[in-house]
């Protein structure tokens, strides 16, 4: 696939995503078929009835047509080009894909996109207010709560969800309630410090 074919479809300027993805950019109106999980044996796409899903993503109403097998994670990343949400294990075990649905932290890799009609989705891209970072994002930077950064969007979305749940009152509680987010660089001590800082500001 020639990356140049993409010229004119995406926003101007070359993004890492554009280069890596080649011609993979999918316009929102285009049906999103079962992509993502590479091992997925895709049956004849024509045989699967598409489902129309109207959602608010980071405050913006969007309408997408999805194969009923497609996850919210793949819809965000492949269909809406919101690649901040990461695909780690794709099995509900690592937490990298954590987003908020109607304000609750959930795993987008185990959520079928077809089930979130008329819900509100918040991803890591929706946390900042303009140029002002969310207190949790700021705290992760200040406390150095990351190394490679792959788990970080999931960590931050999970941490914000936990503070809203009212369960970030001690280091032990933070560790217990964040156990669904794995960090293979093992930045856990700094993540706990970052959450402790941020929840004071968030209150």
């Amino acid at each position: 696939m020639n990356p140049n074919d993409d010229a004119g479809h995406g926003p101007p300027g070359v993004s890492r995503r554009g280069v890596l993805g080649g011609g993979a950019a999918v316009a929102v109106a285009v049906p999103l078929l079962a992509t993502g999980a590479e091992a997925t044996p895709v049956a004849d796409p024509a045989s699967a009835d598409l489902v129309t899903v109207k959602v608010k993503v980071n405050g913006k109403p969007v309408s997408v047509q999805v194969d009923p097998r497609v996850t919210l994670l793949d819809t965000l990343r492949e269909g809406l080009e919101l690649t901040g949400t990461k695909k780690g294990c794709d099995r509900g075990q690592c937490g990298a894909c954590t987003v908020h649905v109607d304000g609750r932290r959930v795993l987008s890799c185990l959520t079928l996109a077809a089930t979130v009609n008329e819900r509100e989705i918040t991803t890591i891209e929706g946390l900042a207010r303009g140029d002002r970072l969310h207190p949790m994002q700021q705290a992760f930077i200040e406390r150095d709560g990351l190394q490679c950064g792959f788990c970080t969007p999931g960590q931050i979305m999970s941490a914000v969800g936990m503070v809203h749940e009212g369960h970030a009152n001690s280091d032990d509680e933070i560790r217990e309630r964040m156990s669904g987010n794995i960090c293979r660089c093992s930045c856990y001590p700094f993540i706990v410090e970052a959450i402790r800082d941020a929840q004071k500001v968030m209150r």
């Binding site: 699967a48 509900g92 795993l107 079928l112 309630r177 156990s179 669904g180």
Partner: protein, 325 residues
């Protein structure tokens, strides 16, 4: 993932009408979507039941009524549950992760499938997944497998913490088909593997779990769920104990006990219950009562430690409960 027809009914009646032979009900999706990706489950129709009115956490004279679609985190946070049925809240909060608890439903939790690695791996045989294809766990890696209720066909551990607490408390499960409704004690809901490990419960084809009722009792408010696992959090039980006691001073009037992580179903221990009845709550009483707890165990190459672990888990659960009396 294989192709399926997707439907989103708005009523129980409509959902049941869609429940044909190849159909699967979808609630939180934390089991079904996972297993469809692995090709372990391949329904031809997925019925999204999340719009059904199977909600509510209500306490009345009969007990605690929970709609099948209530989420684990919401039940765990409920004030009545925490006050009158503490072991239910504890079993829920010791399950999975916060994100999974926000997604997974109570009905789905009762029906979640085993974590046996061979069941989840379609490149191996598994009598539960594919009847007659053998059980590699017998001679393979079986450290986390069951020691109680096993058969020559299957040694898969029942994964639910909640079901262990609910069995101990005498919970009823409410079921519906297009032909009508019925109520089954959770204790008799689950099937031992025997020679048919693919049959895990008494559900009929197309039958839907609509809710549960946990009766009021003198013991439920004095209950504890203790879970022992390889990690401190976000892990399935190696052994767990759900213990509820009706006290008369420092004497145990009556005890209700079920254990997890060791059985092919949530496992009641009536002999231990009887050994505790009428006894003073002392360390000697506890040690004596648990002597028979793992009787009948059939240990495998890597899980023989579970018999002793089970007895110690029970003693610690009794001790914690006696101290908090």
């Amino acid at each position: 993932m294989r192709a399926y027809t997707f439907t989103q009914p708005r009523s129980v009646r409509e959902a049941l009408a869609h429940a044909d032979a190849g159909a699967a009900f979808l609630a939180g999706g934390t089991t079904l979507v996972d297993l469809m990706k692995l090709d372990v489950m391949a329904p031809t129709r997925v019925v999204d039941i999340n719009r059904l009115p199977l909600r509510g956490i209500k306490l009345d004279r009969d007990g605690l009524h929970i709609g099948a679609l209530e989420r684990m985190s919401d039940v765990a946070a409920d004030r009545n549950v925490r006050r009158d049925y503490p072991m239910i809240a504890q079993a829920l909060e010791l399950s999975a992760s916060a994100q999974l608890r926000n997604m997974a439903s109570i009905g789905g939790n009762l029906l979640q499938r085993t974590r046996c690695g061979y069941f989840r791996d379609v490149t191996t045989g598994c009598n539960k997944r594919e009847p007659g294809s053998g059980c590699p766990a017998m001679t393979g890696f079986n450290r986390t497998h069951a020691i109680l209720g096993t058969s020559d066909a299957c040694v898969a551990t029942h994964p639910s913490d909640l079901a262990v607490a609910l069995v101990a408390l005498g919970t009823d499960v409410h079921l519906a088909t297009a032909q009508g409704t019925r109520t089954v004690p959770l204790d008799t809901f689950y099937a031992l593997p025997g020679s048919t490990p693919h049959v895990e419960n008494v559900l009929r084809p197309g039958e839907l779990v609509t809710g549960i009722t946990v009766p009021r009792s003198m013991w439920a408010p004095h209950s504890v769920y203790l879970k022992i696992r390889d990690r401190q959090s976000y892990e399935f039980a190696l052994a767990s104990a759900a213990v509820a006691v009706e006290w008369r001073g420092r004497t145990i009037n009556q005890a209700r006990i079920a254990v997890g992580g060791v059985g092919t179903t949530p496992w009641r221990l009536p002999v231990v219950e009887r050994a505790l009845a009428g006894q003073l709550a002392t360390a000697d009483t506890f040690e004596a009562a648990v002597r028979t707890a793992a009787d009948g165990a059939r240990p495998l190459a890597h899980n023989a430690f579970k018999s002793a672990l089970l007895r110690r888990t029970l003693v610690r659960a009794f001790t914690v409960l006696a101290q908090s009396r």
